[in-house]
Symmetry: C2
Subunit: 190 residues, 2 copies
């Protein structure tokens, strides 16, 4: 059996940054490796908070040695009050990946939901339920908000596998079709 | 004479990141130490671009050893197409400062303009002209877009000096008053 791809998913945030590591085999079977949340104190200056998040991310990178990093793409129009801190954390996450020579990509929440549930407008609970099912967990992943990081990692890994390899007959699964649609939407100008 | 404060100002950007280093004496006299622009290739992945900017910033930090770092504050509502990359670079800049134990703060463009020209809505040319005058340069600072980084560094240094020390009689200069107004505006909810 070929080596699984180890993906680190990062749901960036200055107060809570979700991290999830999964191994995904060439046949798309996925296994949970690590899930957690890195926190920083809202009372600290922004630079110190970013350093705390960076230290936590480096620990995960050192301990779990992912092959690739997937970071949620941040949009300016969402959650204006916190979006700048979120974007700053995403920049730090991408930097840490590059400094270790790891490929890093961003995915939109719509791409992630479509990849995981087959439906780009799925709610948080649906995503968590599917993540638990895919990873064969007995309960929803904890902490709940780190489930997004796992979903991101799964989305990235599945995207990497060519549909023709995953579906030899050339028939894309509903999730693959939904993902392709979401990707087209994202590329067409969001 | 007391040691001058050495300030690194950073005007964050993914394609062009302006950097300016100034020494500011307790009497507010300022001297140019370094000005430049760090570039990254638009063709490279975001993570690689951020690593290129980080490498350039580390060079400036190593060569010029500033005491403090000032970074322009990014707002979600401006220049939506590039604002996320700008915010990511600002996060990287703040991280690098924190990792060297340097205090780092952000200032709004309005604060900077008010500190330099006495007028928060000053145009680029006015800011460049005042930066050149303050630093006793024979011509406008080059490259032109790095003048913003110098203005940011000056703003930060002047902010640090208590108005009562700079104006023993307690009378704030027009620039100080304008800066205080800009700061109040920024704190009141922008």
């Amino acid at each position: 059996m070929a080596t699984p791809l180890r993906v680190l998913g990062i749901d960036p945030g200055l107060t809570r940054c979700g991290v999830g590591v999964v191994d995904v085999a060439p046949n798309r079977t996925a296994t949970l490796v690590h899930v957690g949340v890195i926190r920083s104190s809202p009372d600290a200056p922004a630079s110190v908070r970013l350093a705390a998040i960076a230290a936590g991310l480096r620990e995960v990178l050192d301990e779990h040695r992912p092959h690739v990093v997937a970071v949620e793409r941040v949009f300016a129009q969402h959650n204006t009050r916190t979006v700048m801190g979120t974007a700053q954390v995403s920049g730090v996450a991408l930097l840490l990946a590059a400094e270790r020579g790891l490929p890093a990509e961003t995915h939109t929440p719509t791409e992630v939901k479509a990849a995981i549930t087959g439906y780009g407008a799925a709610d948080k609970r649906q995503v968590q339920t599917m993540v638990a099912r895919v990873l064969r967990l007995d309960a929803l992943p904890r902490p709940a908000d780190a489930a997004d990081a796992l979903a991101l990692a799964l989305c990235h890994a599945w995207r990497g596998s060519a549909p023709s390899a995953a579906s030899p007959a050339g028939a894309a699964t509903p999730a693959q079709k939904a993902w392709a649609d979401a990707e087209r939407l994202a590329r067409s100008g969001r």
